[in-house]
């Protein structure tokens, strides 16, 4: 990878980091998710500059080119994130259901429909 390409990728990653920080500042993202994205940005920058490590990893996976390794790692990351967010969504659904049911029951109680 050329030095110029490395600089562009690094700059884009850092810009992404600033964007995430801005989201955190505006309370549109939580600290935990911000840390997660910082980790991802850090990984992108690390793989961009630690070429030797990427080559070793490519050999370890039996991939032909470093690009294949990056694609594989990216896909794995996306898969893990999708499962993670599916779990989060399900948890939210359960909470919403519980809240809606409780609200409905409390309203019914308030209307003096349940014997105290």
């Amino acid at each position: 990878m050329s030095f110029q390409a490395k600089l562009i990728i690094t700059a884009m990653a850092l810009l992404n980091g600033l964007f995430v920080m801005e989201l955190l500042r505006k309370r549109k993202l939580s600290e935990s998710y911000t840390l997660l994205w910082f980790f991802v940005i850090g990984a992108v920058i690390f793989f961009t500059w630690a070429e030797q490590f990427l080559f070793s990893l490519t050999g370890f996976f039996g991939a032909i080119t470093p690009v294949s390794t990056l694609t594989l790692l990216s896909l794995l990351f996306i898969l893990v994130m999708l499962i993670f967010f599916s779990m989060k969504i399900y948890k939210m659904e359960r909470r919403i259901q519980e809240l809606v049911q409780r609200l409905a029951l409390e309203n019914a109680k308030r209307n003096q429909r349940i014997t105290p």
């Binding site: 919403i96 809606v100 049911q101 609200l103 409905a104 029951l105 019914a108 429909r113 349940i114 014997t115």
Partner: protein, 243 residues
């Protein structure tokens, strides 16, 4: 929510409602015509067609979900209410007019004979003439077999929502009930927990207005996969010692 343990009311009829404005009044009036004096608890599941406003005018208890949660969640809310209010027996029936209220005494009579829950069946006795589309009938047979294999209970009409149950079953289901398609997995879950399940013939009618929740092709496609998975998970949870 604290659930009261004492039973101070005989029974209630729980009716989940979602966009049934055209069927509701007739269903409630038919129950009253049958001289069934039990309280009717309706759970409006975020209807958008005026069902909730109509319910307020009928002689029923109204519980309202501010948003649509699904059939199972509406049933669960109704069961939670019934358990909290101290009802000893709960009858579940649909608002669409398919369940015939004059069959309720038969369900209760079967309950008196020792069952914990009684299913009103379209596939037994004289009710077997009720027309069910071929694919759905095959599906019901498949899930009936699955419920028998996994849950150890032979129930022919596993998709019937016309049921009468004792308080102990209502208490259990009030805590754990699937959001959608609460069919075979509920039978399996109850069977594995050694609840006594009975099935009796019951007359059903075709709905006059609106469409069934099984009519949506996407939901119809999703249904068998979800039910098979959920059925096995019920078994797995029992094996792993979780509820």
């Amino acid at each position: 929510m604290g659930l009261r343990q004492d039973i101070d009311k005989e029974g209630a009829i729980v009716i989940p409602v979602f966009n049934e404005e055209k069927n509701l009044r007739a269903t409630v009036e038919e129950i009253r015509r049958e001289r069934i004096t039990w309280d009717i608890i309706t759970v409006d599941d975020g209807s958008t067609d005026g069902s909730r406003e109509l319910l307020e005018k009928l002689p029923v208890t109204v519980i309202s979900h501010p948003v649509n949660l699904g059939y199972g969640a509406a049933v669960q809310t109704g069961l939670r209410y019934a358990v909290a209010a101290g009802y000893g027996t709960v009858v579940l029936m649909d608002a669409d007019g398919q369940h015939v209220p004059s069959e309720i005494p038969n369900l209760l009579a079967a309950l008196e004979k020792g069952a914990d829950i009684v299913i009103g069946s379209r596939l037994l006795g004289s009710s077997a003439g009720y027309r069910i589309p071929f694919l759905r009938r095959m599906g019901i047979k498949f899930f009936s077999a699955l419920a028998e294999i996994l849950g150890g209970t032979k129930i022919y009409d596993v998709t019937s929502g016309f049921q009468a149950m004792r308080r102990n079953v209502a208490q259990f289901l009030a805590e754990e009930y699937p959001v959608d398609f609460p069919d075979a997995e509920v039978i399996i879950s109850l069977g594995l927990r050694k609840f006594r399940i009975a099935e009796i013939p019951a007359r059903f009618r075709r709905r006059e207005h609106g469409i069934s929740m099984y009519s949506n092709p996407i939901r119809a496609f999703y249904y068998p996969f979800k039910t098979i998975l959920a059925s096995f998970i019920v078994l797995l949870r029992i094996i792993r010692g979780k509820k």
